[in-house]
């Protein structure tokens, strides 16, 4: 019987010490965890997409409770969830317009020139490293679909013309594509924005014309024609101010390369319309 007793006492003692140590540690090193962190975490989508800039949904939940960020900081959560989160921490929900990602380049295979044939790893980041990519335009979309792979909401697909296409219904504006693109082609815009200049090239008009038929040549016609003064030429690139734009459509007709267009819904390229 004695060996049994020794074993029971020894292991029991180890168990007791371990248990006691843990309990003491739990008391001494007690970190008050707000129960609301868990509750908010449950309301968040749980995709851990990182679109909010935090390490994961729970991390964001902690930040929301601490008041570092507004309760609707998650771009992916539904409005219902945002309202309930706001109710939980007793803050008024400040209305913010939904955003979606837009691809700021129209230079597809038919309209943009390539400098060489790229046969390397099918990833824009890799292509960018090889002599700055195969596109002659150093601002344009490389079209290898890195953003498509990065989208965990299945809102992006690769179009037949070699440019990514956004599905506005699925896009949650998490910003994953915005961050991963080496050329910052996808950008977030408010859903209500009516006109967009779909180009990111800061090159002068002549240089743009040499490499791409559908780039902003900074001619300034759009600026002149806009009755609301909503368009500015910022370092050789037309930029539409969504707050002023009424969507009258005058610039669509005037733009010589046809890159200023309605944000949603496809309008024919000017060249094609003319042909």
């Amino acid at each position: 019987m004695e060996p049994v007793l020794i074993a029971m006492l020894a292991v029991g003692a180890i168990g007791l010490i371990a248990g006691a140590l843990l309990s003491i540690a739990a008391k001494v090193f007690y970190v008050p965890v707000d129960p609301r962190v868990g509750q908010i975490g449950d309301l968040l989508p749980g995709a851990n997409c990182g679109g909010c800039g935090f390490a994961g949904c729970l991390d964001l939940a902690g930040a929301i409770v601490n008041g570092q960020v507004p309760p609707n900081a998650c771009r992916c959560a539904s409005e219902e969830a945002n309202r309930r989160i706001a109710a939980l921490i007793g803050a008024a929900l400040e209305e913010r317009e939904r955003e979606i990602a837009c691809i700021f380049c129209k230079g597809d295979a038919a309209h943009a020139r390539r400098r060489f044939r790229y046969l390397g790893i099918a990833d824009c980041r890799a292509a960018e490293l090889v002599a700055g990519g195969d596109k002659a335009c150093r601002y344009g979309c490389l079209g290898l679909g890195t953003c498509v792979a990065a989208c965990i909401f299945d809102a992006l697909r690769m179009g037949e013309d070699g440019l990514p296409v956004v599905n506005p219904d699925r896009c949650t504006a998490c910003g994953a594509c915005v961050r991963i693109c080496p050329r910052h082609i996808p950008r977030l815009v408010p859903v209500s924005q009516k006109a967009i200049a779909f180009c990111t090239s800061h090159d002068p008009g002549k240089a743009v014309k040499e490499v791409c038929e559908v780039g902003c040549i900074a001619c300034g016609l759009c600026k002149k024609v806009c009755p609301e003064k909503a368009i500015e030429i910022v370092s050789l690139l037309a930029v539409v101010d969504p707050a002023k734009c009424t969507g009258c459509g005058k610039c669509f007709e005037k733009c010589p390369t046809g890159i200023i267009r309605p944000a949603t819904g496809e309008a024919p390229l000017r060249r094609e319309a003319a042909a």
Partner: protein, 203 residues
């Protein structure tokens, strides 16, 4: 109820066969699969541990506080493992020598704690036992499959019985650690292909 028990038992063989589907418990699956004999021994040891731990965890599931849950479960599992260790040492000593450190390592086999956490903690004892038995046998089957490939091709025998003519040189690579990884990877790949075929046919 009976149907449920059968269902929990059979899922362990194809639908949720642990090492091949979830890549759980692959450490022992790689380490003791050089011979069919040791694979069988390891498999049955795991079956026993899984049944015992699932049963006991299911019995104490209402009295264990949540915070010490893991510690309690792991103590129960460790007890089952030490029982296996002692019994194997007493009655199957050669097998004990072959399996060596992998017997105590059953404690940290992800399948065992995984089943306790995911299943036995929430289900009555009957279901837990049948789940443990099914999962354990599924593990045994996967082990034996890998071991068969490795033993037959590697040393030209199956369960010690020669299957190739005596001058078969043996594919030594398969008996070494890197060979285990490669065989296991290829097995998983073929499993993927088969599953996809079945899905396509059903669709």
């Amino acid at each position: 109820m009976a149907a449920r028990i059968v269902q929990e038992f059979t899922k362990g063989f194809w639908k949720e066969i642990a090492p091949l589907r979830f890549a759980l418990g692959i450490c022992p699956a790689l380490a003791v699969s050089t011979k069919v004999e040791s694979a069988l021994g390891m498999g049955f040891a795991v079956v026993f541990v899984l049944c015992l731990s699932n049963g006991l965890v299911s019995l104490v599931r209402h009295i264990v506080p949540d915070k010490v849950r893991i510690a309690v479960f792991i103590s129960i599992i460790a007890t089952a493992v030490v029982i296996v260790e002692l019994v194997m040492q007493a009655y199957f000593y050669p097998l004990f020598l072959v399996l060596g450190i992998w017997i105590p390592l059953i404690v940290v086999n992800c399948i065992v704690l995984g089943r306790a956490e995911a299943f036995a903690r929430k289900n009555p004892i009957g279901l837990s036992l049948s789940d443990g038995l099914g999962m354990g046998l599924g593990f045994t089957v996967s082990l034996v499959v890998i071991a068969s490939i490795r033993e037959v091709l590697g040393s030209g025998t199956w369960l010690g019985i020669p299957v190739f003519p005596a001058d078969y040189p043996g594919f030594g690579f398969l008996l070494r650690p890197p060979g285990a990884f490669v065989i296991f990877g290829l097995l998983l790949a073929s499993m993927n292909v088969i599953s996809r075929r079945i899905e396509k046919r059903n669709a």
